[in-house]
Amino acid sequence: MRRLIPFILLTVCVALPAAEPARSAFVMRWNLDWNVAGGLPEKAMLLSLQGLANRKSPQFYVIHPPEYQWEITAPLYSFYERKHGVRFTELKTAKAALNQFSNAARGYVVWDPAVAATMNVAFTIAGLEDALVVTPALISTAESHGLKKIDDLRGRYDGKTDAEIYGDAARRYWARCNHDAFMLMGGHAGAVRMPGMADWGVRQRMFFSDLSANPKHAAELALAQKLLSQLNDGATVFGWHSYGKDTEEQWTTLLSGYGLKMEGLHNLPNLSFNCQFTFTPGFKFTNNHHTTPGEKLVAGPKVYLSFVQSDSIGIGVWTKPGRGKLPFAWQVTMNWTKFSPAALEYFHESATPNDYFIGGLSGPGYMYPNHIPAAKFPGLMKEARTLMAELDEQALEIMDNSAADGNVGNADLTKETVDRYYAAFPDVIGFINGYGPARTRDLRDTRPMISYDYYIDPRRPRSEVAADLNELIALNSKRPYFLLVHVRESNDVNSLVEVVKQLDGPVEVVPLDVFLKLAASRKTYTTRYQDPDDPKHFEGYRK
């Protein structure tokens, strides 16, 4: 019996639900060297190790420097310590990480830095075969930890195009890959690559690629279309488009056409760890509402200005100085309730009374609604409603840049799309639309739909931002004027406080829920949808 006790304990431990937080884990602190000729090979190896180490329980977490695009890794680390009682042990080197976790791998697969796409093929193999991804220079490191070669991509794809490489990978591996998720491991391309989300793809056994959605790359596009069409209903495309091949607009348009959701970016770290924590016991999302259900507000002869940040609250402004000094709406990446609940809890916990959360982007993930098939729209928006209810959110942000690019094109919604939103969200207090400025506006019953009139580029001098806003205020001379402003990630709130001081006229900065209620009371804006004659940068894809 005594000999059975350890076995029983082991069995119980293994049988614990994946969501049960571990009480001990390991952490590494990484630098910003993602050069292919520098730090990338080791980081890629460690990312594959992280994905494998975190397969059964959350064991391996990475803290990135504050300059990394996702600035929350350090605050979230503290949150895990404080709220989940995780005791972290620091791993100082890759060797130490391998000493700790190499038994999570069955072997290694070799990729060739001279053939960029082989890194993604290696990640695919890593997920399916429990392999580390290594460059030739790291083979000895892997072997010194007792790992054997599972595959070697050197030479296999020399002289092949990316379409040929991924086509071959699809023939070999696609059938065995997860069909609820797809890893678009693009983003940085060339001398620097940043596959920070690879741990997640390896853990979930996804197919990795940076296939192009650019019609100029017809063979890659055709393969992408084929694979996307074979994903399961409700599937998610993780990662980000390749900065070297196509555009965010092209990929998001493409996946939206299949009713799929985008969850970025390619460098979003630690999902393999984060996904295994639930909300802390007793935690319930409580938004900082400034109005009560059914309350009617009446707009006065003023300029009402409201600020929104929508580039995912894990990036940028949240950690910048001054948050809380102005009313601010934050578009929450609602899917994080599934993939990164602790991060959402951290944001809610650290919210000030001026921080107000809204749903988005366009639905249960990032999508372009003008391209969502009509038959898939209700189901997707039902999912979005459920997530919004869980997050205590009453306003939805929509974005469709499928026809936009820079100054060219438009970011508007067709009337059919607007009709669908009004039908799908009877209980919201309103909708907002755009990223850059847009012209879709409506008011039905008490639910306004307002587009951004201004977008604050963080690089734009604050004096020019103030002048821009004053110009909008001067031209929109009817009062009330509802001036909705999108604040790009990496702005800081302190600078916006100074901008507000330079505005002309009777300006009041209000929280978004108040803004929408006021906009419902006096419609001084036009009703407008995407005009078929509006310039379009891109017409979309033929399936």
Binding site: V408, S463, L472, L475, S477, T526
Partner: protein, 179 residues
């Protein structure tokens, strides 16, 4: 004799010169050519990262061609003004600040007046242009001066809007085979 001979010739000559000199000055202007925005010495250009201004004069007509670029997106638009009379222009080009919801009104015609001033070294352009705003439509008055600076290698564009509290100031450098 001399006087009687000279006077008519001088008269005809002066009439001829009076007719030809303005035409000569319009035939080629030192403002003609390709000018590239010096972003470091200009008002911040929102959205666009490059701006080439190509000026060609053709008699009293001046073509202002704007070659704009943002990443790989390129856009070219030309506004032609006439220094003899005001005109109605269908696609008047305004350097849109990418991040403001101010759009050329659909089907709108812009009234444009232009004149050479300062000894033909400044082109003044005044425009009344209809703008689509979130509250409907509004007119924006734009006053521009294209000033050729000493040495003819630099061009200054000062643009004032009736709706903006401060002017936009853009400096251009002439694109030559050497640069």
């Amino acid at each position: 004799m001399i006087r009687s001979f000279t006077m008519p010739r001088l008269y005809y000559l002066s009439v001829l010169m009076g007719l030809l000199l303005p035409l000569a000055s319009f035939a080629t202007s030192p403002m003609d050519g390709r000018w590239r925005l010096d972003t470091s010495r200009s008002s911040a250009l929102d959205g666009w990262s490059q701006w080439d201004l190509v000026i060609t004069t053709d008699g009293t007509r001046v073509n202002l061609q704007h070659d704009m670029q943002w990443r790989s997106t390129k856009h070219t638009a030309t506004t032609t003004v006439d220094t003899r009379h005001s005109s109605k222009v269908a696609n008047f080009f305004r350097v849109e600040q990418r991040h403001m919801a101010l759009y050329p009104a659909k089907g709108g015609l812009t009234t444009v007046k232009a004149a050479w001033i300062d000894g033909d070294r400044t082109l003044r352009v005044e425009a009344d242009t209809p703008i689509e705003i979130s509250q409907g439509e509004e007119n924006m008055r734009i006053y521009c001066e294209y000033r050729l600076l000493e040495g003819d290698r630099s061009l200054l564009l000062i643009e004032l809007h009736s709706s903006r509290p401060q002017p936009l100031v853009y400096r251009f450098t002439k694109v030559t085979p050497e640069n």
